[in-house]
């Protein structure tokens, strides 16, 4: 059972009300256990539904990574929250779940969070020579050197 495997890795599990929230169990984990957690989910036939991030530097001085695992058929959503310090890196789980490859690239692109061990960490949605990370709360669109003043 996934719950048993996870209880060894992440003791901090909260059952959430599925009818209101849309997922079942929420865990708070430290970032360096993520690869083991991913392995546990892989062995239990879960898939990585998405990874996303929150810029919580104002609230908790941290970026919060949100991993959501689910299984086909009867939904069983497990959400892993992992807070990392603004200048820290997180381990990549792309080796376990290739789906994480692009999600991690997107988080790198949008938040500037780096992932250790990612096969090819580069921008995905913004252009390669873009600077800045758009989804940061204090983001200001950098002036585009190629755009003239009269362009709307």
């Amino acid at each position: 059972m996934i719950a048993d495997k996870l209880s060894l890795l992440v003791p901090d599990a909260t059952e959430v009300q599925y009818d209101a929230r849309g997922f079942h169990i929420q865990y708070t984990a430290s970032a360096d256990t993520l690869p083991q957690i991913a392995d546990a989910f892989l062995s239990e036939n879960f898939h990585l539904e998405m990874i996303t991030c929150q810029d919580r530097r104002e609230n908790d001085n941290a970026f919060r990574l949100i991993y959501q695992f689910n299984q086909y058929g009867t939904p069983q959503r497990h959400v892993i929250l992992a807070d990392i310090a603004p200048d820290a890196t997180a381990p990549s789980i792309a080796a376990t779940f290739p789906a994480a490859d692009w999600y991690e690239r997107e988080i790198f692109d949008m938040y500037g969070v780096s992932f250790d061990g990612h096969p090819d960490l580069k921008r995905i949605l913004m252009e390669e020579d873009y600077f800045g990370h758009p989804l940061l709360k204090d983001f200001v669109d950098p002036p585009n050197p190629y755009r003239s003043e009269d362009d709307a």
Binding site: A20, M50, A99, I124
Partner: protein, 376 residues
């Protein structure tokens, strides 16, 4: 280059080259690029490069309140606009516990399924055009036009709908709409048979799709494949059945599946899905209750209680999920759109390696991508 998915090269041929399929290419269905490493016509590796259509919907969500974000979801995926629009409303409704009147729920079901059929029709046309068959494209568009006309009449828009509101829909339907819908259903069931005769039985079509672009069984779990692509691999998974949202649990419909996971299986699944959608619409039309189409008591200010919410709907392409992190204010703290095409395109390096150039086009067509949905 993403070396993990390179297939073994023929040691005798050292002349390989790169071909940019896109950003402007007839069969990427939008502005997307696939960097192909080719040995003759054989693909050694493929790397999708996305982001040309990035419109920062997630950033927009953090800068406007829940009501102002209403028109956005249907622009994320312009072919399943109604489903996205309604899905967003349902996500917020569940977070805020807003009751939706029965009639509105039924209207939503009809609109959802009509939209699904129109999306599948467009897919059928463009997929066959990718394979070089021109004529089915116009047949499919002809029928799609009928759906657009029906929806146009009640929503006022043809593509990027903003019909749903928190607590129902903005305008009521009338008997003419219901007549139109049931007429369309009887007409379309016959048309589907024609499509099957025209397309599925064709020898060249079978040659081009059977055994082409097989999604290996472990691919689903690794890349979180969903929707018709997943059902073509033998998984019985449909959000409408597994975690029914709205009132989908009241309807009687099947989840079509195939086991092969190739382009042909995906075609069969989608064609059968259109038939199931017709079944749902017919049930909804006959059960349509009277009453309010918009809840009378909807909070003036849309402020979901603090916390994380995830809501997922079955879009024509797969699981469309909305992750809403609310801090209790009018404006979402974070709104993540989990789009199915993003996952499917990220699996392309693993699927395309080792196939032919013409297969790449067939695979891209068969997974039914909408580029703005990948880029958001």
């Amino acid at each position: 280059m993403n070396s993990r998915y390179e297939v073994e090269q023929d040691p005798k041929s050292r002349d390989t080259y790169y071909l940019n399929m896109g950003p402007q290419h007839p069969s990427t269905h939008g502005v997307m690029r696939i960097k192909l490493h080719l040995d003759g016509e054989r693909i050694i590796s493929a790397e999708p490069i996305i982001g040309y259509g990035h419109r920062a919907h997630e950033k927009m969500a953090e800068n406007r309140d829940y009501i102002q974000f209403l028109p956005n979801p249907s622009r994320v995926d312009y072919l399943g606009g109604m489903i996205y629009n309604i899905g967003y409303c349902q996500a917020v409704e569940r977070a805020m516990n807003i009751e939706v009147p029965e009639r509105a729920e039924y209207i939503r079901i009809i609109c959802n399924e009509l939209n699904r059929i129109s999306s599948h029709l467009l897919w059928l046309g463009t997929f066959l055009m990718d394979l070089g068959a021109f004529t089915p494209f116009l047949y499919a568009f002809d029928d799609r036009e009928k759906i657009l006309d029906i929806l146009d009449r009640i929503t006022g828009s043809r593509l990027t709908y903003c019909y749903a509101r928190f607590g129902g829909v903005i305008l009521d339907i009338d008997d003419v709409f219901l007549d139109n819908v049931s007429n369309f259903c009887t007409y379309f069931v016959e048309r589907l048979k024609e499509y099957e005769k025209l397309v599925i039985g064709n020898v060249i079509f079978r040659e081009r799709t059977i055994g082409v672009g097989i999604f290996a069984p472990d691919l689903a779990q690794k890349y979180a494949i969903t929707g018709p692509c997943l059902r073509a691999m033998g998984h019985v998974h449909d959000v409408r059945k597994d975690e029914p949202y709205g009132i989908y649990d009241r309807f009687d419909f099947d989840v079509p599946t195939q086991t092969e996971g190739d382009c042909f299986a995906r075609t069969l699944v989608r064609v059968e899905e259109m038939r199931q959608s017709i079944r749902i619409i017919e049930q909804a039309v006959s059960d349509m209750p009277d009453g309010l189409f918009l809840a009378a008591r909807v909070p003036k200010r849309i402020r979901p209680p603090e916390g994380d919410y995830y809501f997922c709907v079955e879009s024509p392409r797969g699981n469309f999920g909305m992750y809403i992190a609310s801090d209790g204010s009018d404006i979402p703290f974070r709104l993540k759109l989990r789009t199915p095409s993003f996952s499917h395109i990220s699996a392309m390096p693993a699927v395309m390696a080792g196939t032919m150039l013409a297969d790449a086009v067939a695979i891209l067509g068969s997974i039914d991508i909408v580029v703005p949905e990948i880029d958001r």
